[in-house]
Symmetry: C2
Amino acid sequence: MIAEDAATLFGVLSNSDRLDVIRALVEAGPDGMSAGNIALKIGASPSRTSFHLNALSESGILQKERRSRNLNYRINFKTIGALINFLMEDCCKGSAELRDCCTMR
Amino acid sequence: MIAEDAATLFGVLSNSDRLDVIRALVEAGPDGMSAGNIALKIGASPSRTSFHLNALSESGILQKERRSRNLNYRINFKTIGALINFLMEDCCKGSAELRDCCTMR
DNA sequence: CTTTTATTTCAATGATTCTTGAAATAATAT
DNA sequence: ATATTATTTCAAGAATCATTGAAATAAAAG
């Protein structure tokens, strides 16, 4: 991953609503959740939720799939993992000091 | 760490210049670098560099210390580590799937 | 084929962030 | 004291991002 793409992904994560969406989808498990249920869960209007869902899926953090009337979203952990790898390995050159600060080690 | 603080930190990381600063300081090692040398290294004007250094140290990603005429900056890995922990443990609830995507595991 | 449900798109507005270059501050050296 | 070096601060403007509510689209049901 190049720095510009990482910067874009960090930008997508730099919003509480979007972090709430990720949390809701992690809780929901591998089947994901519909846009409407996500909106209810995070307490935001449909259009506001849609705006954030678009940023998240545009960047590859979420994947969407239509299921009849609903649009179902689920997390794509590969993208989040790639971003963490960029930060730890690329950007911080695998720093041992940083690794020691991380619980998963 | 609460979601709002994490969102702020992600916002600080959402800029290529600032990622370049972090990379330069990781390369520089534990002694860090002066603002002027950072500006030279990342190829940005002094005031622009100062703007980004301020965002980085304000958020706790960098620490600064005056050394006579120079202001010396170095990385505070604790903050970056705490953010990675938030993302992996808090936000993604320690997801095994996410952990499997990370090289450090 | 009209209505209902689910969601997105759009335009307008407000808020935040970034860049630039000039001026201000801080420390040191002459 | 004055000049030099290092860095920040500031104001102005441009660019990007977020929110709102109304209108548009998509699918399904009556």
